[in-house]
């Protein structure tokens, strides 16, 4: 049996899943002040229906870190930067406690300027004097040579053992120094809070279900063992939309160009599937106005959901954006989008008379027939969603291209179907699909697809190596490893094998060995380094990953 729990902003959903069927599902309001309590309540409710069968894995998707960062409630963290030449220092407005140090590295990992240890001493003294206990260290091109970052971290560890230090290359090995700095900063800021939350959950789960794996869902739609998450709390952000997208894929399982729309109470999250595979945000997740290196699905949120109230404003109809409560047909006190669709399409959900009474009042105030009001609400909803969808198509088509091949073979996104997720999807999705001129997909499990997506998602891991044969070195990300290459005549196949080697190694450390053989190459670049008239070396960038997918044994749901 598998358990998936998605702690959302309004509701926490949980499913108990076994052999293609949802055995039990739970929907419970989320108590933001006590996420731990909410989680345990849902977990207990699911375990009560296990009938003594073994639960192999629990996967959690939570908003803890997202909320900490959004509310700026992370711990005070100093950001120590080694930017060298380039953009002005004023470009790095990330932390109110930012310190700049001498020392710089270039794109080949060569040292341009040495760090000044006396300066580092002074800065650390100041940080300690201010009582700051978390430090994030980030240097430009540290992904090519993290010597300077490590030097600062080791000085902190040696002299200020009460201060925790993170380095940016350990968090992400990709190019983009500001994004690495931000990701490292957020990691340092939330590590303690996440770790203590993880302690609690881990203790509770192992007490209730011994021998059960506990995984955390990431923004990229994959899971990671709770142990790994302690070093990478930021990867848990935006896992809610990722859960929904994975749920849509899990239910649909066809290689179609699709749009997954999760229509919740107050918002709708839209993601794209290219031939059935979720599309990633090419620039990484955006948190607190900063782009990060957190691998995340491209999700567009529209502030309209099933519970969005229908109001009249200066003589015209408006929808949302706040939520006053559930739909009138489910006992709410205000007319909502769900009520309008309920009447318009004669869906007969809940108490249609309540929908009629509440929307009738709006119609009276606007002196319009009730039917027209319902039609008007539907138009507003479809229009808002349609705009967001078109924007996503454009974003995808506007992605930059760096190779002739990519430009010549560029294809537009031709939508084939709409996959509806969430409680309000059955009301809204058919009309939306009709408007877009495509078919739609709804499943009886659609309302709990988010929790189902979490329950069946497999672990993911991406490993990237950069090899510079002229200098005889390689670097590996994540984790900030490096080493010297052996032998002459190093080729792309060797770089690929190196990447696979580290993926297997890291996979084993994270308990993902089962999936290491599924790893696929997602990036392969090679450049000849020509100096004078001759070949001086080669540069390789190879990435291999266990892509988002489903755990062994998952074979779709019973229809």
């Amino acid at each position: 049996m598998l358990i998936g729990i998605d702690v959302g902003g309004t509701y926490t959903d949980g499913v108990l899943f076994s052999r293609g069927s949802v055995v039990h599902s739970v929907k419970n309001p989320t108590n933001e002040q006590d996420l731990f309590g909410t989680l345990l309540f849902v977990l207990d409710a699911l375990l009560a229906r296990c009938n003594g069968e073994r639960v192999e894995r629990v996967v959690l998707s939570t908003t803890l870190v997202t909320n900490l960062l959004a509310a700026e409630q992370g711990e005070r963290t100093a950001l120590v930067l080694l930017p060298g030449a380039g953009l002005p220092y004023s470009a790095y407005r990330i932390s109110p406690d930012t310190y700049f140090l001498k020392g710089s590295i270039d794109f080949r990992g060569r040292e341009i300027e040495e760090p000044d240890t006396a300066e580092i001493e002074r800065v650390l003294e100041e940080i300690d004097r201010l009582g700051i206990r978390r430090v994030a260290v980030a240097g430009k091109f540290s992904n090519r040579n993290d010597g300077h970052e490590v030097l600062v971290r080791e000085m902190i560890r040696a002299r200020y053992p009460h201060i925790d230090a993170c380095t940016s290359n350990d968090v992400s090995g990709r190019l983009n120094f500001p994004r690495r700095a931000v990701t490292c900063y957020y990691t340092a800021m939330t590590m303690r809070a996440w770790s203590s939350f993880a302690d609690g959950i881990e203790a509770a789960v192992s007490a209730k279900i011994p021998e059960c794996d506990l995984h955390i869902l990431k923004a990229d739609g994959g899971t990671m063992p709770v142990e790994t998450s302690r070093m990478r709390p930021c990867e848990t952000v935006f896992s809610g939309p990722a859960a929904s997208t994975m749920g849509g894929v899990a239910l649909m399982r066809e290689p179609l160009n699709s749009l997954v729309i999760d229509i919740g109470g107050t918002t709708s999250d839209i993601s794209l599937l290219i031939e059935g595979q979720p599309l990633y945000a090419s620039k990484g997740a955006l948190i607190g106005g900063h782009l990060t290196h957190i691998h995340s699905f491209a999700v567009n949120s529209v502030p309209i959901g099933g519970d969005s109230p229908v109001v009249e404003e200066s003589g015209s109809l408006r929808v949302g954006p706040l939520r006053y409560g559930p739909a009138a047909c489910f006992g709410g006190n205000a007319p909502t989008v769900t009520d309008a669709f309920n009447l318009l399409l004669a869906l007969n959900i809940g108490d249609p008379e309540a929908s009629r009474a509440q929307l009738g009042a709006v119609a009276g105030r606007l002196s319009q027939p009730l039917g027209e009001i319902c039609r008007g609400v539907a138009d507003l909803v479809i229009e808002a969603l349609g705009e967001a969808i078109q924007r996503m198509f454009r974003q995808w088509e506007d992605e930059p291209a760096y190779k002739v091949w990519e430009v010549v073979n560029r294809k537009g996104f031709v939508l084939e179907q709409v996959v509806g997720i969430g409680a309000a999807a059955p009301a809204i999705v058919p009309l939306l699909a009709k408007e877009l001129g495509v078919k739609y997909f709804l499943h009886p499990y659609s309302p709990v697809a988010n929790a189902l997506g979490a329950a069946v998602a497999r672990p993911t891991l991406a490993v990237q190596v950069h090899v510079d044969t002229q200098n005889g070195v390689y670097t590996v990300a994540p984790g900030g490893l490096s080493g010297k290459i052996k032998g002459s005549n190093y080729q792309i196949g060797d770089a690929r094998e190196l990447a696979r080697h580290f993926l297997r190694k890291m996979g084993a450390e994270r308990g993902l060995s089962d999936y290491a053989d599924d790893a696929e190459v997602y990036l392969e670049e090679q450049f000849n380094v020509i100096r004078g008239r001759g070949l001086a070396g080669k540069l390789f960038d190879v990435g291999v990953q266990i892509a988002p997918g489903f755990i062994r044994g998952y074979d779709g749901v019973a229809r």
Binding site: L175, E397, I530, L539
Partner: protein
Amino acid sequence: MKPTGVLFFPAFDWAISPAHPEREERLLYTRDQIFEEGIMDLPVIREYHPRLATAKEISRVHFCVPDVASRVTEAHLVAAGSALVMADAFMTGEVKNAFAIIRPPGHHAMTVSHGNRGFCDINNEAVMVEYLRRTYGITRIAIVDTDVHHGDGTQEIFWQDPDVLFISFHQDGRTLYPGSGFVDELGGPLAHGTTINIPMAPGTTDEGIHYILDNLVMPMLEEFEPEVVINSAGQDNHYSDPLAQMRFTAQGYALLNQKLQPDIAVLEGGYSIETALPYINMGIIMAMAGIDFSNLREPDYDPKEFRERPGNMDAIKALVREQLTNFREREAVVEGYRRKGRTVETTARTIFYDTEGIHEKQRLGFRICPDCCGFRTIASNAAHRSGRVSTVFCVSLPRACCPVCAEETRQAYEKMKGEKGYDFIYLQDRIADQFYTLDLKHGRETVV
């Protein structure tokens, strides 16, 4: 405030040959630098994606022999198309200015293209100029070519065009490819003084180039009043460039763009791929986007090493005076030619394609007209290294032609249809925006 548009197209899968300066690696370290800096994430920058230029867009400038499809590689079509994307972004007002960091380059490609010359097949800036004219009705354009090599292709294309002010500063042609760009190359009879060359001695520094910019380039631009200013932004004046001997720095390039304020910049040459390009490209983006670039420098930069030699400064001052006079007296010279009435000026020249070893001979006819910009014909004979020879005749009708010249141009094309000895004859009708190719051997005419 509007952002600056940037289109970065490094053509990571294209090279002239594996060890050629125009190889995959050329913009690799520039990619590393601009990605690592995260400059594309800033709200003052908007990144664009490339497109392919069409055969018609190329034909507005070039006579490709035998045709666009077989002459121009996809890489060149993407580079030219990228310049057009930047032109659209600027003209529609999405951005305040735009920079196409693209390869392959284009400024050595001339009107007739038999092959690759100076690493260029087609002229990206020229294709963009004709696109701006056709799509947005722009007339007056200034191109400032800041590549260390003379922009001989761009000069040749706009030689007879009084509405394009072409300014090229470069290392003296007696010391560097392509061996042209001297002070007396001032443009055709009816476009005299709208081609201005500024050959500089090897070793000229930031100081010398900025003197030229402040005292010659900027005043000329002010007086010419172009609707659009284009920087043909080569980066090989840099002190570390392996193919040239100048002493320009990344700071110098950034400051140049801050002063020049080009509406659209298009990358040309520059082959110091590790020591110069990453920093110059950053500098140009920063200057165009209004970002403080005082923290930008090359790893080995030492400001003390870039003082101008006094003797060279005197030569530069004399050059600036001479060219400013040529520019300011241009209308009187043109008037003198116009008074000759409707005559035809004929000249001949040879062109060498260094990349592909092609020897081309041209006979040119230029119609001088008292009422318009005139028109030109080019008879071209190209001997390829393989021994193959192609002979073509080209008739070019500019948009600004008077009805008399337009009629005469079209008749010239019709008349040539009966001539023997040519493989292809072409008519470039920019008024009708139609481009004819007649394959004489097979008697087939195609129009794009």
